[in-house]
């Protein structure tokens, strides 16, 4: 098996990973920086279709402090202040970098970026990913496309590399690195999609983000935080297209089936509803029989309608098909809205790896940024980039601590990772190759759909109105444990199938961790995202804490035995990186 030596190994070539590579090459042009990408950095991850706004930017008058206040208000006063503040300080630098790379941005009369919302500016971001990819190639980092990491290599409690599968030929490479960044994005596919059949991947978040990085970090003993704060988006029904383009971009009102403006019929924690409260109010209307709800585009000018079409072609092209299929222009038909399937995504919500202010996980040598990192919601593209940059800076501050792993220990660790990675490849008896391939595919998909059915029914999926109780969660735990066992028998005949098996395994593991988090937090803190039928009230006295989990490393092969850890709130943002690090001292619950 090939062995590749690098300094800074980045898993995932999205916004966070690309910026982590570029910053690393700025800091150390002679260092070897390697990006492992599951698809091709050109169009991989959530930004594949583009994006039409930068949603984390400090418009004139805003500061890192005011951004933090806004994020705290949106998330029931429980976010990692240190993380939000330190990324907020870098948001405009990241936006400027994107513009420097060629991102077309709209400007106002004063030449400033055109404001769309409080923390948002309007762009033409259809090509945001190709532009980022060009900057990545330009910086001199090594980019390995169509490769997936299956496990981290851990020796003496330190991450020293990763095992990587090449999807083109099924070969494996052991990558030895002085530091590893998890920038693999969030997790979709734990819950069932809004529609089935040929629309099963008609999801808002990338269906190809399987939580691989979170799962491998968990197996390596890293701590995860706030998984119970699932992110559920208010999206266009059927297309799952983002709604900010309508609600923020052209200020369309929310109406129900009876044409009534329902948002003002509810009371909110503050005067204006938060993102979660707008979703909650819409779901209330559905429950009361006044759904479906809409964003009312009628009354827009035809010019605004045309601009809307272009905005969606730059981000979610199928929204344009929805208007065309209905035989209407955007300004002639209100757009139906509803809740998405739940996701674990650190860029929008709280779920992800527990990191310190300098973006270090709880395992030495392992860093995290972007959607894979928890505690700092609403970071979006530019916040993810900021985290990638901070992680790279931290890595180079610590590079002198690195010691080459002992060859025998390296060999043993790589062999163990390889054995686990290749396990589904064992030949299946009594099958011809052709039948075997089809059979594998359907078994992989069936297992994934079984997981989604369990989570939807018992763990607050969309069909259950996103709500749940302890009884259901315990039932779900039992069923997921069964699926984890059953999943060990799934086979793969080639590299793509092997990747798919690992994706389902990773989703199962994360579902199991998610259920433990959901069970542990005995309150309802975040409307819709974390809403319990058996503990319907918010309890700041007891639960204004972070719920974290960790798998003791010795138990990863045979049995999932996890530990829940309570962490106190982090209400300050020190500038030397010590504030959050000290919070790692929290005790096990």
């Amino acid at each position: 098996m090939d062995v590749l030596d690098t300094d800074w190994l980045i898993l995932g070539g999205g916004a966070a990973g690309i910026m982590a590579a570029i910053r690393a090459k700025e800091l150390c042009p002679t260092c070897r920086v390697t990006v492992i990408e599951k698809a091709n950095v050109q169009r991989s991850g959530c930004l594949a279709a583009g994006i039409n706004a930068i949603n984390a930017y400090l418009n004139p008058g805003e500061t890192a402090e005011s951004f933090l206040s806004y994020v705290k208000a949106e998330f029931a006063n429980l976010v990692r202040d240190d993380l939000v503040y330190t990324l907020a300080e870098r948001l405009n630098e990241m936006t400027d970098r994107l513009v420097e790379w060629g991102l077309p941005v709209f400007r106002d009369e004063q030449g400033r970026y055109l404001r769309r919302g409080r923390a948002s500016v309007q762009i033409n971001g259809e090509a945001i990913k190709p532009l980022m990819a060009a900057a990545l190639h330009q910086c001199g980092a090594e980019v390995l496309n169509h490769r997936v990491a299956t496990d981290l290599i851990v020796i003496d409690d330190r991450v020293v590399g990763a095992l990587v599968l090449n999807l083109a030929d099924g070969s494996f490479t052991a990558v030895r690195a002085k530091g590893v960044l998890i920038a693999t994005g969030g997790v979709s596919g734990i819950y069932g999609p809004n529609a089935g059949g040929a629309a099963r991947h008609k999801q808002w978040y990338s269906p190809f983000n399987a939580g691989t990085g979170l799962a491998m970090a968990a197996r390596a003993g890293a701590e995860l935080t706030s998984l119970e704060m699932r992110f559920i988006a208010l999206r266009v029904a059927h297309t799952m297209a983002p709604t900010g383009t309508l609600a923020q971009g052209v200020r369309t009102p929310h109406i129900n089936r009876l044409n009534a403006h329902y948002l003002n019929d509810y009371t909110y924690e503050q005067v204006a509803p938060t993102t979660a409260e707008r979703l909650w109010a819409t779901l209330q209307e559905e429950k009361k029989g006044r759904g479906p709800c809409y964003l009312d585009t009628r009354g827009l000018t035809s010019e605004q309608g045309e601009r809307l079409q272009k905005a969606y072609l730059s981000m979610c092209p199928t929204q344009v098909l929805q208007w065309s299929d209905a035989g209407k222009r955007p300004e002639e038909m209100p757009v139906p809205i509803t809740g998405s399937e739940p996701y674990l995504v650190g860029g929008h919500g709280m779920a992800g790896l527990w990191i310190d202010e300098r973006r270090r996980t709880t395992v030495t040598g392992l860093y995290a940024a972007g959607d894979a990192a928890g505690g700092a919601p609403k970071k979006y593209v530019t916040g993810s980039m900021a985290e990638g940059a901070i992680a790279a800076e931290t890595f180079f501050n610590e590079i002198q601590d690195w010691r080459e792993p002992r060859p025998d220990a390296w060999q043993i660790a790589v062999c163990a990772a390889l054995q686990r990675a290749r396990q589904p490849l064992e030949p299946k008896e009594d099958s011809t190759k052709g039948n075997c391939e089809n059979n594998n595919k359907s078994q992989i998909r069936r297992l994934e759909e079984q997981l989604q059915a369990v989570m939807d029914r018992w763990a607050g999926g969309r069909p259950a109105g996103y709500e749940y109780d302890a009884k259901g969660l315990l039932r779900a735990q039992q069923e997921v444990d069964y699926l984890i066992e059953a999943g060990r028998e799934i086979k793969a005949s080639e590299a793509y199938e092997l990747m798919r098996v690992h994706e389902v395994w990773d989703r199962l593991l994360l579902a199991r961790l998610l259920l433990a988090h959901m069970l542990y937090r005995q309150e309802s803190r975040w409307p819709v995202y974390q809403s319990r039928l058996d503990y319907p009230a918010r309890d700041d006295q007891r639960w204004r804490i972070f719920v974290n989990s960790r798998i003791p490393a010795q138990n990863t092969v045979t049995k999932i035995d996890l530990e829940i850890i309570e962490r106190p709130p982090v209400d300050s943002h020190g500038r030397d990186g010590q504030t959050a690090l000290s919070s790692f001292g929290g005790g096990a619950a």
Partner: protein, 99 residues
């Protein structure tokens, strides 16, 4: 299936098709003979990455009936670094939109 593949237009791109290279789900594969195929048509995310790089406009995206699709399609062509979209309405009417 929401990605429509026009088998007549696909020219295999010398055995290294850009569409397969850029698909974020690694879904497109080129068999030894014939045109590009999707290994799991229902797993397409409809992001449009593939249709933007196809030099033959052999690929189009549509909404599946499960998501309310009624036959409209979108094709894309790169012209001087910009994208020209062609929207075909269910009645066959064509509309071009330049980004």
């Amino acid at each position: 299936m929401t990605l429509l593949i026009n088998s007549q237009r696909c020219r295999r791109c010398g055995g290294h098709p850009r569409c397969a290279d850029v698909c974020p789900g690694n879904l497109l594969v080129l068999p030894e003979r014939g045109h590009i195929v999707s290994r799991e048509p229902d797993d397409c995310w409809d992001c449009g990455a593939c249709i933007k790089v196809c030099p033959q406009q052999a690929l189009a995206v549509s909404l599946p009936p499960e998501a309310g699709g009624q036959g409209s399609t979108l094709r894309a062509k790169q012209i001087a670094g910009k994208i020209r979209w062609t929207l075909e309405h269910p009645d066959g009417r064509l509309e071009t939109i330049d980004l």
